[in-house]
Amino acid sequence: MKVEVSYRKKLQQLKASENKKQAVNKLEGPDSESSMRQGITENTQRDKPLNPELVKAASAVASSLPRNKKQTESELLAQLRRHEETTDEQKKGRTINIRNVISEMTVKRQSPAQWGARISSRISLQLDEDGQRIRPERSSTQSMDSRSLKVGKRLNIFTKASTEPEHALKTVSSPTIWDLEFAKEVAAVTAQPPRNGFEEMIQWTKEGILWEFPIDNEVGMEDDAEFHEHIFLEKHLEGFPKEGPIRHFMELVICGLSKNPYLSVKQKVEHIEWFQKYFEEKKELLQEI
């Protein structure tokens, strides 16, 4: 909301404000120190009364203007106050007090999708010649302020009060389908064709076409069973009759299986179960005999 003032009036205003600033500075010397000790905020400066001479000058200017005098006077006084504040701050060397501004700000919470987008922009998938990822260059955070990081008012970001945003993020479950799809897309886009034979071999190894060297003979064989599970297989013979030719036959089968190093425990158990099924189906035939 600006007051329409002609150029002559502007000059008059400027002259008046300049004259009064010099007077004000002498008066404000002691006041500014006391307010600094208190911790200066904008409110305390507004409460401070303006210089009476300034007020008189403002009223004179307002009377010279053709419009509503009281309104113009109040507006002029408000403008003067603002000028005073800015000049005071500039003189004291605090242009934009970032810390005061940040302390009043709150943490912005983003959705996990936005999080992911941000993080993916940070993590670049391009491989350097060494095979290490090229890091996106971060602007040095220390270049914002010429002062050191340890000086100044505490921002209270990394204290107990701020554990809430961490908890909110932890509620995200395992990557959603959309995350997986996005990851697949990114991998497909960033997959460069191999530049030389080594990269081709790397790609083949990843796909499984080429074995990994030095060759591990037990690749794919994940037998976590202990030796006693391979050898002592009598516990699986509970479904069979305890006497007779079938039992004799199955004991021979078990003896053979215990000596077999090529089958896993699962396969051996399946083997025995197949025989169990087979003999159960032939029960009628066996009873005739």
């Binding site: 992911g116 990557p175 995350d179 997986l180 991998a187 004799h248 036959f249 021979l252 087979y278 005999i289």
Partner: protein
Amino acid sequence: MAAAALCWALRAARQVLPLSCPRQVRSYHVDWRMLRDVKRRKMAYEYADERLRINAIRKNSILPKELQEVADKEIAALPRDSCPVRIRNRCVLTSRPRGVKRRWRLSRIVFRHFADHAQMSGVQRAMW
């Protein structure tokens, strides 16, 4: 947390994506006999366990003979291509049924061709 999850997803996707494509698959067989041989091998692989177990019942002297006769009929009822005896070790490149060296799966003519062009690792003309 989300960052770690996304990283994991990326890593998994890089490995999963090429694995989802099939590995080396042969789509060209030299002739139909080779194709039939391939089918027989597949079937023999499928029925190998069953055949082994039924044969174990047949070829022992402990079980009663009636049971063994039943097992005989069962194994005869299995598809004919499932028995491993029908597999013929043909040459991989020319599908030649005879003159095939087992170690290289190649017929003698192809083997000689490659060996003379120094494309067989560790194979040298004999001279003593």
